[in-house]
């Protein structure tokens, strides 16, 4: 018996490198990679309930076709308005900008085939997304879940970064009670998103919510924000930001407190004022951290679903539907193929955005600082 246990422990010691990492790899293979492949298959098929089970029929790209050009286009991409001449010019400007960017890369002497392909994908997809936004935000246009998701992601992350950084800068000063504020500002991160959704529904209620007197005084006493597309989207965005500003705040505050104090003191001796110290010393010092938190938030923000689902149920109409919610609704209507297709589109947009950000922005800040 003891010789067996000795043999076992010797075996496990020799195999330790494999044994340590195996659980993680297996779990990810089984619950991420395998489902991902299965899901691709689902996206390429039509799902039908039949007696005693279901039936999957391979239909090629038709689910994607439906989203991009067919009956679900209004839902996914949106309804297009006319793009004005000025907006075409704007788009051309962006395209030219990307062109120059790639040109400079080619001239830099460090160009390789992968770098070139990656940059071309980034440029094409981003230009395409800008065109889409211009088209659906125009006149008669109406954004679908893709543009709504982009709105949540980009507007949300920008707002969270600006406010989070501002609060962190204020709290990094030598003031009384900073620990108190730090503790308080941290709280929203822990509240369940479902709870936040309900809380903001209460708060935003113009007749029964706490701000009802103010709305009345402003003459909006019977304004129903949930019926107006943009006000509904903004309420979702505010709820989401309320939860995630603390994340930016807490990490950036730690980064600010972590920067070497002597550099700041040296700058003070050299005669730098508050703004100059921020611009020349603090910002370069925290830029890699900023890039990382923005990346983390980009990744997570694309997954938004709880808030729009509960706050507005995706409405009015489809106005606040994020892509995840879109996929969920498709699933509920037994359209598994459509649901997977939306999921895959989300994956594509997320990966292009995050990888572009990582390669072309986050890495830059790191190099400059390393």
């Amino acid at each position: 018996m003891s010789s067996f246990s000795a043999r076992f422990s010797e075996w496990s010691d020799r195999r330790a490198p494999t044994l340590l990492i195996l659980p993680t790899v297996l779990i990810i293979l089984a619950l991420s990679i395998y489902p991902l492949l299965l899901s691709l298959y689902l996206a390429l098929s039509r799902f039908k309930l039949v007696r005693g089970g279901y039936e999957l029929k391979f239909v090629g790209l038709s689910n994607f076709k439906k989203l991009l050009f067919g009956s679900q286009q209004y839902h996914f991409l949106g309804t297009f308005g006319r793009v004005s001449f000025l907006e075409w010019c704007f788009l051309a400007l962006i395209a030219v900008g990307f062109g120059l960017w790639i040109w400079r890369y080619l001239r830099s002497g460090k160009a390789g085939p992968f770098g070139l392909i990656g940059r071309m994908i980034t440029a094409t997809v981003l230009t395409g997304l800008v065109l889409l936004c211009l088209a659906v935000l125009n006149g008669k246009g109406f954004p679908g879940s893709l543009v709504v998701t982009l709105f949540y992601v980009f507007a949300g992350v920008s707002i969270q970064l600006v406010i989070g950084l501002g609060l962190a800068l204020l709290c990094a000063q030598r003031i009384q009670g900073r620990n108190f504020f730090r503790l308080i500002f941290f709280i929203p991160l822990m509240v369940t998103p479902v709870g936040i959704a309900y809380a903001f529904r209460m708060l935003a209620d113009v007749s029964k919510g706490p701000f009802a007197p103010i709305w009345q005084w402003l003459g909006y006493g019977d304004f129903a924000w949930a019926v107006d597309a943009w006000s509904a989207r903004w309420v979702v965005l505010i709820g989401d930001s309320w939860q995630w500003i603390p994340f930016m705040f807490i990490v950036l505050l730690a980064a600010l407190e972590n920067q070497p104090g002597e550099q700041v003191e040296a700058a003070k001796m050299d005669g730098a004022g508050g703004w100059q110290i921020f611009r020349d010393i603090s910002w370069p010092a925290i830029a890699p951290v900023v890039a990382t938190v923005v990346l983390i938030r980009l990744i997570e923000a694309f997954k938004i679903v709880d808030l729009p689902n509960i706050l507005t149920n995706g409405g009015p109409g489809i106005a606040t539907e994020s892509m995840t919610l879109h996929a969920f609704i498709a699933w509920r209507t037994q359209d598994l193929g459509g649901s997977s297709a939306v999921g895959y589109m989300l994956l594509f947009v997320t990966v292009v955005t995050c990888v572009s950000f990582f390669n072309f922005v986050a890495q830059k800040t790191r190099e400059a600082d390393a």
Partner: protein, 353 residues
């Protein structure tokens, strides 16, 4: 520009770390603040810089009271122990940053940068980042950044402590030369006595937040004001023996030294430097003991002898050798003996002088 501290005090919470410092630094002087770790040197320096507020007392730069003036209005440059170089700026930008903040135009700035960079031998490194430099080069960047705007006062906090021994010696020479050339008043903090002795016009020795002695290096060595200074300066450290003075002679276990002119005193510490002693035949000389250890350091031999219950180090030339445990006598080569009150550490002097 001359600097004056008037009864400067600093407390962190309940602990007073600088206890009433009075100091006058003359225009163009190189003053070194010397003291053991934690005695408040950095704190004193930071108060002069304005990075720390004094709890009490006043600081004057020239005629002006700068006690409550912000650092940026003081016209002081400081070299930090860690150098505090800006990691994301090139050497050129680091050096030029003070001028950039003062909105000096580009060509003028570039000229000034090249001038100071030439002085500290950095012309070939202007495009590099601090992380690509060696310790000594970083130190010179910090120095150049401090020099470029011709401040009225230089402050340096152990600028050489991060360098290896050889480079430290080299940079010491450079520093002394540069300070002499620029003629800028300098306050320099260190806990290394060699640095203090070689660099300073005058040395200010601190202990636990209090000034012990302020004098030129030679005077500090030859005429220490108290027991602490005597023991702190010199290598090997001064030999001390506990005893008493009565009727013109110091007596201790195994020692008898004449000291004409000193009044009777019961509790005395006598101090003699190793180079003022010689080993002689047993029973000759003023001290009697046995050899305890013999160390050859290269150009001389340090002989430690047990005299009574204290150990006395004698500096002999490099050929001296003897068995450990041999009884020897020790004689004074000149009459350089210092006497201190054992309780207060105050130097005792002959009554009639």
């Amino acid at each position: 520009m001359q600097v004056s501290l008037r009864d400067i005090r600093k407390s962190f919470g309940a602990i007073e770390v600088v206890k009433g410092l009075d100091l006058d630094v003359a225009d163009g002087e190189f003053l070194v603040l010397l003291g053991p770790s934690g005695c408040g040197k950095t704190t004193a320096l930071r108060m002069i810089a304005g990075l720390e507020t004094a709890s009490a007392g006043r600081i004057y730069l020239g005629e002006q009271d700068v006690t409550d003036v912000l650092p940026k209005y003081r016209d002081i440059a400081m070299v930090f122990q860690s150098y505090a170089l800006y990691p994301h700026m090139t050497v050129e930008d680091n050096i030029g940053y003070p001028l950039y903040l003062r909105k000096v135009d580009k060509t003028e700035r570039a000229r000034a940068i090249r001038e100071v960079a030439g002085k500290v031998d950095l012309l070939d490194y202007l495009d590099r980042y601090p992380r690509q430099l060696s310790g000594g080069q970083r130190q010179r960047v910090a120095l150049a950044r401090a020099m470029i705007r011709r401040p009225s006062l230089f402050l340096m906090d152990e600028p050489l402590s991060n360098l290896d021994a050889k480079l430290r010696g080299h940079m010491r020479t450079e520093l002394k030369h540069l300070q002499n050339e620029l003629g800028v008043t300098t306050v320099y903090v260190t806990h290394d006595q060699i640095e203090a002795m070689t660099l300073a016009h005058r040395v200010a020795i601190m202990k636990a937040g209090e000034l012990q002695q302020l004098a030129p290096p030679r005077e500090i060595y030859n005429d220490p004001a108290n027991l602490f200074v005597a023991g702190f300066i010199g290598s090997p450290p001064m030999n001390f023996m506990n005893g008493e003075i009565s009727s013109g002679a110091f007596r201790a276990d195994g020692a008898e030294l004449t000291c004409p002119g000193f009044g009777d005193h019961a509790n005395v510490v006598a101090g003699v430097r190793a180079e003022d002693l010689r080993i002689v035949e047993a029973n000759a000389g003023e001290l009697q003991g046995t050899t305890y250890a013999i160390e050859l350091t290269g150009n001389e031999t340090l002989v430690t002898c047990q005299v009574g219950d204290s150990l006395v180090i004698v500096k002999m030339d490099k050929d001296y050798d003897e068995k450990i445990g041999t009884a020897v006598g020790i004689s004074l080569t000149n009459q350089q003996v210092f006497f201190f009150d054992a309780e207060s550490g105050v130097r005792l002097r002959p009554l009639d002088s």
